[in-house]
Symmetry: C4
Subunit: 255 residues, 4 copies
């Protein structure tokens, strides 16, 4: 295995496509969003590239008994009513600091081959608690990009995200800017505790706005309902536990 | 020491051999299994290669005062009544993520030199508790391989192994598939707490079936009896401990 | 991204400049000191180099919604009344041991381009407790440098710093010496708990002495007052906590 | 800084010298032993090489205010009445697994330049408790070496050292054997809690025997007395602590 091995699975002509990245991260927001796009746009999507690398964890996933070596996958989507898309997805990020640089450069190389100059990195920003409203926080590689995204409802907050943006999402902006791309990161607020379909939906609604296509959300909403159920049960269990355990006060009255 | 140093210890002509890998892993199932094969087939086995690498831990083992640098060993086995074998064994795995890729490629290179196209990676899948029945869970690099292994009693379960297969065993399937090998991973169920001879036996019984040779199991069964004794003593000790320690209830009645 | 990418932002002629390093470390003393210098000497400062590297953490910082890829920055300062300066600052150190060597060599390469032969690495030495007096402890690459710094009030203590000097600051002395530089490390004593403006000031006062310029300290003193307030509040909270929690003595009298 | 930078400090003609390695390890036994040899044989010793490397920790040590970059040092010792020596010492080991391989190869390269074919790696083997008798446990790269060392009082034990020998000491045997050296590792038993001069002495007494020179031990014995004092105080403090803390029994009678 070389540092990078890129399998050309198919070739597709796209017109000024947008690279949309959804590798695993906080709340799996980016991954959920891109998977939902692939589901909704299945008819127009073609798997074009598989990216293998020594930078990925040395393992295979197993589905129905058949193994698959860790890789990232790139789908070309010929969208009738909106911008063409290059959807990047995968189960793992690079395993070393330098690996993130290597992989991000590879993703941008492929994006250039397809004539892309715009990038959206999708992810989540953790709030640390369960929330009801799902804002989308943003970051851009150049200030000329702020206005259009603000019009689409993205919030640019003064001290967020604290600690910046780490990993491929951050480097798509950092390296993208140096290589002539216009890159934005859209981060849906999420508790950070669970895989969050509501956060993914909030991010996708911004994309619909800026990229000009329409999506249905039935399957994501189903997953959101399942998540609400799970949260409800957890909260119930926590309340019960608090009733059973003797508190410090209880112990003070022994004897 | 280069990245890889492969010592040619001997040359042996084999006929369409099968690479069988038993490097250390869960319950040491793979290692036990391959060591048992070497014991049973001693007369037909020849050490052909020693593989040294900067990717192995920087240490020597010491036996009877004499040192041996960390390496993997490959034995060629000219099996009269069944498939010829290339048995791969060792005390250590690679110490870095990239190292696993490097070593697995080296093992497949050597397998190609000997004309092998089939691979069996042997290991264990942890159940987290002591068990009585020892199923063998499987994964294959191509779905055409499923039927023959199911006939031999291997179970292909929907969500197992959870988390996939990590390390050389997984990469023998992942990289093997890309290089034209047919690779299967056989994982004996095991508690994961102990070195497990019963699990090794379950895996070997599948190999007997698919590769056409017969094995005796006396020494493995002896080790299994020793293991049962140890388990019995641990369970006794745990029960005694539970009787001595005051419980929360006990403490409630002080004073 | 190569191992190193050095952007030439501007060219400035300097006369025998001194490289002054303020990357993040204990108490952020070095960073505070260099940032203060940049503030005070704003009129004479020009950003000349940005240093990007795979050795830096793979992330972007975000300010007012716009991303910036991790880098170190070098400013050329044409100081009218004192030695010319090359001020090195940044938000992060290298992420690996070898990375420190790579980056320090890069910084010394750039220093050589500008004709520098003197280096001051600025940092903090932790005392482990809050202090009132702020000594500056020193280390030099050659004993001929000791006297001048002692005259400027730097203390060279027999067993300090214990454990030596780690990271770029230490390597600027170690590699600097091998490459013909005269390098000194000035470490302001600091508790190590907080970002410490008083420690930064102590170090800057030594630099004023040896490099021949004058600085105002109003903004640093303001930050020092804010720090005193924070310390005061922490001490108050700790005292209150001690009154509420039953001590071991208290527990002895239950019943 | 390249991967390795070897400074030639002086050239000395030696006759079939023995490489003796004393880098830091368990109980600092090897380091103490080599430092004592340097002290005792000061008149006949010349510093010949300094070895710098990116594999060493990126730091400088500071002595009397002057910095020194991490390195290993090699001294040539022209011993009148015994085997000539190459003494290898330093404050740090390599910081990565691969680094150990790199450095050990470098040390063997230099040993070959000086015409050495014999190697003694000195270290400690931890017993986990304070001891009175100080045996020296051994390991050799070839069984032909066992007898002479057994005659010198070295013990070769069946299952020791458990876990083998890790780091440069182990690789001097492992890589040394592959490169035509005869290498032995002498490990003085030691508690593992302290720097142990008695263990160092036990190892040196074996070396005296096999290499044919005589040593005085006054300074090592002084350090041993200091160590005994420290141990005595620690044991006293432990006993006092046991008297002050209420035991579980005490707590049972409250009320």
């Amino acid at each position: 295995m070389d540092e990078l091995e890129i399998d050309v699975v198919a070739e597709v002509e796209l017109d000024d496509p947008v690279l949309v990245e959804g590798l695993p991260g906080v709340g799996h927001v980016g991954t959920l969003a891109v998977e939902h796009l692939l589901e909704e746009l299945e008819g127009e999507s073609t798997l074009v590239r598989r990216i293998y690398s020594r930078e990925f964890p040395p393992q295979v996933s197993v589905e129905d008994g058949v193994s698959e070596l860790t890789c990232a996958e790139l789908y070309a989507v010929d969208v009738p009513e909106g911008r063409d898309l290059l959807l990047l997805t995968g189960d793992h990020q690079a395993q070393s600091n330098e690996g993130h640089y290597t992989l991000t450069d590879a993703f941008l190389d492929i994006a250039e081959e397809f004539g892309a100059t715009d990038v959206y990195a999708l992810g989540g920003v953790p709030t640390g608690e369960l929330i009801d409203e799902y804002a989308v926080v943003g970051a851009v590689s150049d200030e000329s990009m702020l206005e259009a995204l603000e019009d689409a409802g993205v919030e640019f907050r003064e001290d967020e995200p604290a600690g910046g943006i780490v990993g491929v999402s951050g480097l798509l902006l950092g390296l993208g800017e140096r290589r002539g791309f216009e890159a934005a990161c859209l981060m849906g607020e999420t508790s950070g505790y669970l895989v969050d379909p509501k956060s993914a939906r909030a991010v996708l609604e911004v994309l619909e706005d800026v990229l000009g296509f329409d999506l249905e959300y039935e399957s994501l909403d189903e997953r959101a309902d399942e998540m609400e159920e799970v949260i409800g049960k957890i909260q119930e269990m926590e309340q019960q536990q608090q009733m059973d355990v003797p508190t410090d006060d209880d112990l003070r009255y022994i004897g």
